[in-house]
């Protein structure tokens, strides 16, 4: 009897495990075949990103691996936090130890790998040679491989529309080795144990600090490596001559002399002064896009059940059962041509969650949601990975709602896109350099004809 009971138990546990396995498989199985013969696309799970003002600015620091849009790559608000702390501590006590701690905090970098930042050749726009502006970054780890435990994708873009129009020509070229683009995507990945972050997850209660400080950033844009120093005060750092001249005109001329004056006093005060100067200035650029945090939600949570009450209406409608082919032929004018149909299905898809700014899907079979029929890449238009020569596959796309959130003006020269689709290396290769460039495809709306 006991053996029977035991055997019963064993079989029931096995059954449970089987059920669990099946359930897990069901969750992880990203493809559900739609029974509808009209809609042939397989249902893949899409993750959406929404832009939201960050509730707590210090949660957007780099060691907490945030996903954000606008502002600078993670650094901007850490300054406010450090400024706050600085003033509090100044009031309470002013010892070198506290200042040292602040120094570490102030030097927090935005980039995942804070040391090996992209070179000047790769961070300038291919057409106007200005440094690219930070658009967004997302934290997209891949669980399969060990070296992609941490994985960040950065998107940079030149804010000029004329560069984007020229970029359209570039992206159609297939065999260019180093294309000059105005939209660039960088991928950076780290294994779990790395010299920059601890192997334990951050506690997210305000006590986390990064373990190492990285390279200093340009004080105008806050995005790129600031290896050029201001000639007079030796304090301000810039990534390029353009940003240096902009900053000089828009305020550094006055500040520079102040710093010079302060540095003439005793050496101990220099530390104070430098700290003060660094703490008081934010990123000087006034043209950066406003900062948002990207909140992640699954698309399937927005599928609402609309009760279909067909019965009452169909009784009225079933007056005749003739096959009305003539209607179908003649109604094409008013229904939709292919372009309108594509647009209509695009609208329908985003209507589930109209505020989405990002669509993400890691499934290799996923297809991006295109708003238009024209301007789509074919398989041959998508090049191979620059580093491992492997295939690229669609990972995420940026939606035009982001322009609305950024408050982009609607002049003829202001930015406007249909969608920006990112194709990343399928194998997520781990090559020599830290920040690898991926392929971006921009689909623009056809320019409206002027009467």
């Amino acid at each position: 009897m006991e053996s029977d009971l035991r055997s019963l138990r064993i079989t029931s546990i096995e059954k449970e495990e089987e059920d669990e396995e099946r359930e897990d498989f069901g969750k992880e199985g990203e493809q559900e075949d739609d029974e509808d013969d009209e809609e042939e696309e397989d249902e893949v799970e899409v993750t959406l990103g929404f832009a939201e003002k960050p509730k707590n600015p210090c949660l957007l620091l780099r060691h907490l691996f945030p996903s954000k849009a606008g502002g600078v790559p993670v650094k901007k608000l850490s300054f406010f936090y450090s400024l706050f702390i600085f003033f509090i501590l100044r009031i309470v006590l002013s010892s070198y130890i506290s200042l040292q701690a602040l120094f570490q905090f102030q030097h927090t970098q935005a980039w995942l790998d804070p040391v090996d930042l992209p070179a000047e050749k790769s961070f300038t726009c291919g057409f106007c040679r200005e440094p690219l502006q930070f658009l967004l970054q997302i934290y997209a780890p891949i669980s399969d491989k060990e070296y992609t435990f941490h994985r960040m994708l950065y998107v940079f873009m030149c804010p000029s529309m004329s560069c984007l129009l020229k970029d359209q020509h570039e992206q159609w070229k297939r065999t260019v080795e180093n294309p000059c683009r105005s939209v660039k995507i960088f991928r950076c990945q780290l294994p779990r144990s790395n010299p920059f972050y601890s192997s334990e997850p951050p506690k997210r209660n305000g006590t986390d600090i990064p373990t190492i400080t990285g390279a200093p950033l340009c004080c105008w844009c806050g995005s790129w490596k600031g290896d050029k120093v201001c000639g007079s005060c030796k304090n301000a750092r810039y990534c390029s001559a353009k940003h240096q001249s902009l900053h000089w005109r828009l305020g550094h001329k006055i500040e520079c002399s102040k710093i010079l004056n302060l540095s003439e006093t005793s050496a101990s005060c220099i530390v104070n002064a430098k700290a003060k100067v660094r703490a008081t200035k934010k990123y000087a650029s006034n043209s950066l896009w406003p900062e948002y945090e990207i909140i992640i939600e699954e698309e399937c949570t927005f599928d609402s059940e609309i009760p279909e009450d067909n019965r009452s209406i169909t009784s009225l409608a079933f007056t005749s059962n003739r096959i009305d082919e003539t209607y179908q032929l003649l109604s094409d004018k008013f229904e939709a041509d292919t372009d309108k149909k594509v647009w209509a299905s695009f609208q329908e898809r985003i209507a589930k969650a109209p505020e989405q700014v990002l669509r993400y899907c890691q499934d290799p079979a996923a297809k991006p949601l295109w708003p238009l029929t024209i301007g789509r890449p074919s398989k041959e238009d998508i090049p191979r990975c620059n580093y491992c020569k492997g295939p690229l596959c669609y990972e995420f796309q940026i939606m035009p709602q982001l322009l609305f959130y950024f408050g982009v003006k609607n002049d003829p020269d202001s930015l406007d896109w249909g969608t920006i689709v990112a194709y990343t290396c399928l194998a997520s290769c781990d090559a020599s350099i830290s920040y690898k460039e991926e392929f971006a495809w921009v689909q623009l709306y056809p320019t409206a004809t002027v009467a």
Binding site: I142, Y327, N410, V450
Partner: protein
């Protein structure tokens, strides 16, 4: 609460890192899932424009449809029309028609909805949508109707007293075998038309008109489209008061400030005033 290790990455990330939103518990407060039952009203207010024209409309820089018509800008978002015309925009379902296709397993029935929208003051739109479910078809047809809103020109029969009340001249529209002819009528005549075009003309804001139709008007789809085509032609007809040369103004994409300047509005106002 933080899941490292087998999931890859720490905490909130894209990809397979974050199912069920448990990591977002502390940020709760947005109630996104709860908006499912919220209804249409909230969604309309929460419209996030996708096109440049949509952004201009949302900001409030474009307040009338005429500014869009003047430069032939394609309207791709139906919320644009909703925002501009507002509550005056009314819609009506003209007919729900089942259409069938023969398959191996029997017949596949879909429903075709004809919807007319209009504000009763010179703007009408017609939308046709076919779908497996009636509600979907109606919803889709309403959206298509809003996207196809056109201006209707009204004029006088005789004395130019008061507001324009009838079509400016005899116009005719055709779709399939159905032709619809509209003739100006004196005040008080009312809309002299069959039930179907009468509805469309009421939405357009025409008060008096004589109509005459020919062809198989039983086919409601063609009949409605013929009247719509007829109304579209009212602004295509060159009357003597349009003989003056138009001064072209810059499109809202080119320079917003010019759009509010006198010349553009004057052209449209002139037309109305000359009729009056």
């Amino acid at each position: 609460m933080e899941r490292g290790g087998d999931r890859g990455g720490f905490g909130r990330g894209f990809g397979r890192g974050d199912r069920g939103g448990r990591g977002r518990g502390d940020r709760g407060g947005r109630g996104r899932g709860g908006r499912r039952g919220g209804g249409r009203r909230e969604d309309e207010q929460k419209w996030v424009p996708v096109t440049k024209l949509g952004r201009l409309v949302k900001e409030g820089k474009i307040v009338s449809l005429e500014q869009i018509y003047l430069h032939s800008l394609p309207v791709k978002e139906h919320q644009i029309v909703e925002t501009i015309l507002g509550p005056q925009l009314k819609d009506e379902v003209m007919k729900i028609m089942p259409v069938q296709k023969q398959t191996r397993a029997g017949q596949r029935t879909r429903f075709k909805a004809f919807v007319v929208v209009g504000d009763g003051n010179g703007h009408v739109g017609l939308g046709v949508k076919c779908s497996k479910e009636v509600a979907t078809a109606i919803r889709g047809a309403i959206i298509l109707a809003k996207l196809s809103v056109v201006p209707v020109r009204r004029g006088y029969w005789g004395n130019k007293i008061g507001k324009p009340h009838t079509v400016p001249c005899k116009v005719t529209g055709k779709c399939g075998s159905v032709t619809v002819r509209m003739v100006p009528a004196p005040r008080g005549a009312g809309i002299v038309a069959a039930r179907v075009p009468k509805k469309v003309l009421q939405f357009a804001g025409i008060e008096d008109v004589f109509t005459s139709s020919r062809g198989s008007t039983k086919t409601l789809g063609n009949f409605v489209k013929a009247t719509f085509d007829c109304l579209m032609k009212t602004y295509a007809f060159l009357t003597p008061d349009l003989w003056i040369e138009t001064r072209f103004a810059k499109s809202p994409f080119q320079e917003y400030t010019d759009l509010l300047a006198k010349p553009t509005k004057a052209i449209l106002d002139d037309v109305e005033r000359v009729d009056a």
